[in-house]
């Protein structure tokens, strides 16, 4: 008999609505509210020992105290698995569920939650097993049996298979498994299905790029401040900020104030995706054309060059990180009145 502790917010815990969102952590015996339907879905295989009820605002604004109270409860109850939610599309509730499941994990207790795939908490708690649900409580009856099934598996200490098979949201975790047929057979089958218009499923998900509407052009660059960015990994010699050669999570800015050229020996290219000897021994400007930009500045064709350039390494850069860099760089440049950017991408 798998022993379960269930986390609910103030609404599903029967305390009240938004006016009770400050409800502090409360532990009740047995199943409460939708926990009773969860218990029904578990049948004889599991029992809901206790229900932890927390107000959404309390769990969010007093996160540390809330988690400390949940920790004390879990340490006392020692369940086999923690189930949180379903939170559907409620962001604060989803966030509380994610945090509770993460805490359970830290205590060595498997945990599973459920919410709508677009719940903002999904992106934050990607490593938590999350069963997808409808956007509202209309989906409760559909979600609970799926949640119960995974709760029992986790509670028994069983390893879950791939997300698509087990019915949880992909967590971005890749595991090596042996497949019954070699890759060339599977690939050929996939290709034949595709050519014949039969349904086929890619084994590796291909991320679609977001279409960003183009920014309007500048009528004239005279008088305009221009920013320079490179993903060619050009940094001051010595790589003072230790920019890695690939899979980077950072960008850095370096001063080019008063510099007309980039001298060999004063800069280095740390990009790990191509042979950098040409940039390093012949001309660093090949990945940051400063000398020509300065000539344009002197000639009045552009107003001025922003005194810092931004450097990162475009080698295995995760799209989410690249987006974050772009947004941060744009924020700084916009604040400085920069109206256009020249970016060298290797």
């Amino acid at each position: 008999m798998i022993r379960i502790v269930h986390y609910l917010n103030q609404f599903f815990g029967g305390v009240g609505g938004e006016e009770h969102a400050n409800h502090q952590i409360e532990v009740r015996e047995g199943a409460v509210g939708p926990g009773r339907a969860l218990q029904a879905a578990l049948g004889d295989a599991g029992t809901v020992l206790a229900t932890i009820v927390g107000g959404d605002n309390y769990a969010g604004e007093h996160r540390d105290e809330a988690l400390a109270a949940v920790r004390r409860a879990l340490e006392g109850l020692r369940p086999d698995v923690v189930v949180a939610g379903p939170a559907f599309d409620a962001g604060r509730y989803g966030s509380a569920c994610g945090a509770v499941c993460t805490l359970a994990g830290e205590l060595g207790i498997p945990a599973v939650t459920a919410m709508h795939p677009d719940n903002p908490a999904v992106a934050v708690y990607r490593r938590v097993y999350t069963v997808p649900t409808a956007a509202s409580a209309i989906g409760m009856a559909d979600a609970l049996p799926r949640l119960a099934r995974l709760a029992l598996k986790l509670g028994r200490g069983e390893e879950l298979g791939p997300a698509a098979l087990e019915g949880y949201l992909p967590r971005g975790v890749r595991r090596y498994v042996e497949r019954p047929r070699p890759a060339y057979e599977r690939a050929t089958d996939m290709l034949l299905a595709r050519l014949h218009g039969r349904p086929w499923v890619s084994e590796v998900g291909v991320q679609a790029y977001e279409a960003v509407p183009p920014a309007p052009p500048l009528e004239s660059l005279r008088g305009a401040k221009i920013g320079l960015v490179t993903s060619g990994g050009l940094v001051p010699k010595g790589n003072p900020d230790r920019l890695p050669s690939g899979n980077v999570r950072d960008f850095f800015r370096y001063s080019i104030a008063g510099l007309d050229t980039l001298s060999v020996g004063e800069w280095e290219c740390v990009h790990g995706g191509f042979l950098t000897n040409v940039v390093n021994t012949r001309n660093p400007a090949y990945v940051l054309p400063l000398p020509v930009m300065r000539a344009k500045e002197r000639a009045g064709e552009v107003g001025s060059i922003y005194p810092y350039y931004f450097a990162t390494v475009g080698n295995g850069t995760a799209v989410t990180n690249a987006k974050r860099f772009g947004q941060a760089i744009a924020r700084e440049l916009k604040e400085a009145g920069v109206r256009a950017v020249v970016l060298v991408a290797t």
Binding site: Y209, P214, R339, V341
Partner: protein, 79 residues
């Protein structure tokens, strides 16, 4: 509203495919904005033509991913 970006890339097909809206063709990955095999003078002129294509891109309205080619070298003959 965003800032227009002219992206100089040695693999413009990749940049366009990723959705970059103003892409300028560069030379090679190892030397995007020039060519060490040219004389220093020709190399600098090449870098100038590439940068000028980037500046032109920044002044050009586009509706989606668009490739901008640097102007050909003086004396270049189309064959």
């Amino acid at each position: 509203m965003g800032i227009p970006v002219a992206q100089i890339s040695a693999m413009p097909v990749l940049a366009l495919g990723a959705g970059a809206n103003r892409v300028v063709r560069g030379v090679r990955i190892e030397h995007v904005c020039g060519d060490p095999n040219l004389s220093p003078e020709a190399d600098e002129q090449l870098m100038t033509r590439i940068v000028e294509a980037a500046l032109r891109a920044l002044r050009t309205p586009v509706t989606g991913p668009t490739l901008f080619e640097p102007a050909p070298a003086q004396g270049a003959v189309r064959v």
